[in-house]
Symmetry: C2
Amino acid sequence: MNSSRVVPVSLGAASYEIRIAPTSLGSIAECADWWKGSSQAVIITDANVEVPYARQVAEALAEDLEVHLLVVDPGEPSKSTATAVALWECLLETGIDRKTVVLAVGGGVIGDLAGFIAATFARGLPFVQIPTSLLAQVDSSVGGKVGINLPAAKNIVGAFWQPRGVLIDPDVLETLPPREYQSGLAEVVKYGVIQDVEFFAWLEGNAQPINARENGPLVHAIARCCELKAEVVAEDEREVTGHRAILNFGHTFAHAIETVTEYGQFLHGEAVAIGMVQAAQLAERMGRVDAEFTSRLKQLLTIFDLPTVAPAGLDTDELISAMSRDKKVEAGQVRFVLPTKLGHVELTSDVAEEDLRAILQTRG
Amino acid sequence: MNSSRVVPVSLGAASYEIRIAPTSLGSIAECADWWKGSSQAVIITDANVEVPYARQVAEALAEDLEVHLLVVDPGEPSKSTATAVALWECLLETGIDRKTVVLAVGGGVIGDLAGFIAATFARGLPFVQIPTSLLAQVDSSVGGKVGINLPAAKNIVGAFWQPRGVLIDPDVLETLPPREYQSGLAEVVKYGVIQDVEFFAWLEGNAQPINARENGPLVHAIARCCELKAEVVAEDEREVTGHRAILNFGHTFAHAIETVTEYGQFLHGEAVAIGMVQAAQLAERMGRVDAEFTSRLKQLLTIFDLPTVAPAGLDTDELISAMSRDKKVEAGQVRFVLPTKLGHVELTSDVAEEDLRAILQTRG
């Protein structure tokens, strides 16, 4: 079965393709149209992904390009100003030119970091995403958001920088640790909730093969998520109309949980799973959805082995304070993405603090 | 005499206006269309410009906006990664939102630095340029190039980030030190050489009032330079077609001189003046222009009290090595912008090293 898929991302002159194909890493040279005119490539990766994936990409490119492999420490701390400065210095020493293509081979941290470097070195270098985590494949590698963290705020320094192309090889997921894989599934579920009730139902019916990481269903799930995200991004590339905000369903709660637990307890997708349930509970309390909505959501997340309840002991005031420092806040107003039915959400700042507190204090 | 002028910069959805008007700093609130929807403003300036100009802008805005004034050290060292990180941290602490407008009040260093901060904070904030040096008014504030330096390379980290508008008040030039003013005139002369022989002739005829900083001729000169630069930028916003490279006339030589003298001996415009003469001499040696071209150029620069000869003792090999590290180098080829006649230049990489060495060794 040839399960390859191509998802176009329509952004005028910045349009590009997401190519999803098993065993495609080793044949990345076939994507040479993405770096036409380049004589050099810089691969940015981390020590977890370097062997075998980044090396495999480097070897596949070495026939056509002069390849430089830059390896950073794995994990969120590498999305720092210090790492960015070190990479800028490194690119300068390498003697690359303005047509040098930057390839991110790794998860969301690498994609965001490498993309920020590509966006800012020599006022912008061509960029290619090769996401190796499920989360990055269905979310962070699509849409052009790149950036780094400051100690007090994630992703606060960054840019919109669209890649020339995204190459997704589902085979790389075989080596992904279970929690990382499940964390990616939280974002997969999100697309069903916010945009596509049929996809949500398809996930309910295909949860077992998805959990078994079967290639065919996986390619379909990844492609559908990319299509759904591409639709949103095409409509609101730079998050100005407000439409792109629907992608943040569950994320206001999730970011608050991540902040209060100092990013040590939950993977991003795990926090998003809890956050989506909290958003559903808030919507239910406000009479926007019925109890069945919340229970179907919780059930699917549970089948994917994701948490659906915030841990005991989180301070409600601290959570609310973290929400009000989120960079999506505008003129002091915290805005929430709340569902009206499966497949549809809306952005609202019309949430009573009393309701919010009630949800944050809910256990189970 | 009402000497106000408006120069449109046509860049599709990113189009904006350059408004040139005496005594306009104090009435900047009239430009409120540039920050529609903003409730806060951040003014980035340096300690030389803070009083009176940045304070004047802050006061004029304070009726409509919550204004934050951030003051950095004057001079090129502030265009550093360290200052950028400090400003990012500062914006985060200030608690600004995504609609906060960033205003650069200062010379080229401030415009480039503040623009880079605006381009990268929260993935991009609205930006307004209020250039207070002649160089910034006719060159760096137009065209959207923003950035910072690494120790080994100027402007190597940056972005294209178009402002919402540029406000130029020629009155601020009254307090500009003579060398700074003359340095700006080098770029003014450049526009005549590369694009507009009539403007070159007008400068020859109006050199005295320009030297006396008379308001009327000054507004005309600034507006014409902005128009000429805007034409180029509209045709090649992101320096991809090669057309924008004509603005670098004299700059390959100038950057090499600045690098070898460690940016300590010449102001940028002074190095550009010498660089333009060297480019003219190279073109003359290659038979592209006649001796009259070079002598008219030298004469006009001399009237504006600008240097036209490189200092003795610069090492030719070091100069050539600096040129080959310039970020405009592509696939190892140093490219030169050379004139064919007054008002027209062309980009070429077809320069024999022998000719280049001969020019670099010329004294006078």
